[in-house]
Amino acid sequence: MIDRCFTVVIWLMAAIVLFVFGWLVSEVVMQGASKLSWQFLTEDPARSGREGGIYPIIVSTLLILATALVIVIPLGLGSAIWLAEFTKKSSRRVRTTRLILDVLAGVPSIVFGLFGYAFFCGFLGLGFSILSGALTLACMMLPILIRTTEAGLTAVPQEWRKAGAALGISRTTLLWQVLLPYASPAITAGLLLSIGRATAETAALIFTSGYVDRMPESLNDSGRALAVHIYDLSMNVVGGDKAAYGSALVLIIMVVIINLTANALSEFWLEKKINRLL
């Protein structure tokens, strides 16, 4: 009886979540689909974004994201490997590092935005630029990526490390050939989580990569991210709603494409290195 109630409740919860999600997506699709066209994707914005397209904004968004990833992936993987493979789980240094990372992962993005504005734009003199935005995003993404990668590596059975050591296989080989590929679904999940957080980011970017909706010519130029554009259209531009929904739809599609690509890449890597249990 209790079991049955529990089952019903679980199904209900899942249904509610699915319903809300479906509603959200269909709202965006219905409102935004009419705006979506080739012109919208390839033209410059006009009339404060109410008309024209979002081409420079898409380019800025991708540039910010790619730059952030170039910074985040080596740093994040390196730190995670250090935490998972080269330290003792119980040592104070490691526990402190972990605590700091967890706190950072939960810090509101506006705090990162203000930090980025003061440090990257101001102190380092990078000004409003894609580079400042990317660096700020990188700070936000790092804790998420490090902790998920570390968890992924920690979940790799210890037996393989022993087997590798006993065969005189170097740590580097073992990491590249066995541990990282095996942990790659977790790493991918972490990467996607952090990309998700990054693409949704407004507060951290409006003060760092800025508001300029022109096509950026270099990483030193200010560039408006999609999320900032959506925020501006729906908050500051009277009559910007349609374009905001259109941009939101583009953002969703972009996130879906990034997700699929990342999963495919991870799958490919996994398949190449590792034969999964079928």
């Binding site: 330290t87 003792k88 059975p157 037996e159 393989w160 490390r161 022993k162 087997a163 590798g164 050591a165 006993a166 065969l167 005189g168 296989i169 170097s170 080989t173 050939q177 066995v178 095996y182 290195k273 590792i274 034969n275 999964r276 249990l277 079928l278």
Partner: protein, 279 residues
């Protein structure tokens, strides 16, 4: 001794099979006053014994008495445990393995190790065997192929897996996985095999197959095996070492030829343990 290279060897596992197996009283390992501690907590204290060439030495005793730590010290696997400290001397083929000039990775190619739980890498059967070979510089395709064949032959796995070398090692049964692990150790042509309860995680039939294989390997390899199965130790071992834990520190109580140790133990603890009264 250890010049960082695997010395080119002309023998194949197949040819060993035809050689004269021998167990003679030449020491392969001489262990002197070996102690192991983790985070200042001693788990094994002052063990001295000799391991003889080509013989099977069984390490027996209750859980937690330091047998596995003893085994791990022999190929310096203790190095990878943070906080582990080893003192004393282990002389292997005439050289102290703790000597600064010893290359651990080369050392470990000469001393293979098999674990309690079969631990093939989550790679294909072929890659499991290729990985250690390539790591130690064997890249010639024909050479790799013939070594894979020999290794799988010597553990009796070739016929079972020859048509599925590229499928996952994890799709094998437990016993097959353990034999693959032994093949993976043998492919580097070691002279010693350390086995940490290699049969205890297997079903009785697989266990029997692996045990029979160990007996076939004896003579060509020096084998040190940790086992809780006294009957197994009695069946296969030439020498036996009995470990016991006093005040949470493992000690070697008695070491000698297998049969005398079981039939007329010198120490009362050994007598109690082998008769099943203690442990």
């Amino acid at each position: 001794m250890s010049n960082g290279q695997i010395k080119g060897s002309t023998y194949t596992l197949g040819s060993i099979e035809q050689g004269e197996p021998c167990c003679d009283a030449t020491p392969h390992f001489s262990i002197n006053n070996l102690s192991v501690s983790y985070d200042q907590e001693t788990v094994l204290s002052n063990v001295s014994l000799e391991v003889y060439k080509g013989c099977i030495t069984a390490l027996i005793g209750p859980s937690g008495c330091g047998k596995s730590s003893f085994l791990a010290a022999l190929n310096r696997l203790t190095d990878m445990i943070l906080g582990a400290k080893v003192s004393g001397d282990i002389t292997f083929e005439g050289q102290n393995i703790f000597d600064g000039s010893v290359d651990v990775r080369t050392l470990r190619t000469k001393i293979g190790m098999i674990f309690q739980k079969p631990n093939p890498f989550p790679l294909s059967i072929r890659k499991n065997l290729e990985l250690p070979l390539k790591e130690h510089g064997v890249r010639n395709k024909a050479e790799v192929e013939s070594k894979i064949f020999d290794a799988l032959q010597s553990v009796g796995l070739w016929d079972e897996v020859k048509n599925r070398l590229s499928s996952s090692a994890l799709s094998l049964s437990g016993g097959q996985q353990q034999r693959l692990c032994i093949a993976r150790a043998l492919i580097l042509e070691p002279s010693v095999l350390l086995m940490d309860e290699p049969c205890s995680a297997l079903d009785p039939i697989s266990s029997g197959i692996v045990e029979e294989m160990i007996q076939r390997l004896a003579g060509r390899y020096t084998i040190i095996i940790v086992t809780h199965n006294l009957a197994q130790a009695r069946r296969i071992a030439n020498y036996a070492a009995f470990f016991w834990m006093t005040e949470r520190v493992g000690k070697l109580i008695e070491f000698g030829q297998c049969r005398p140790l079981f039939e007329s133990p010198q120490h009362s603890l050994t007598a109690a343990y082998v008769s099943g009264e203690k442990g």
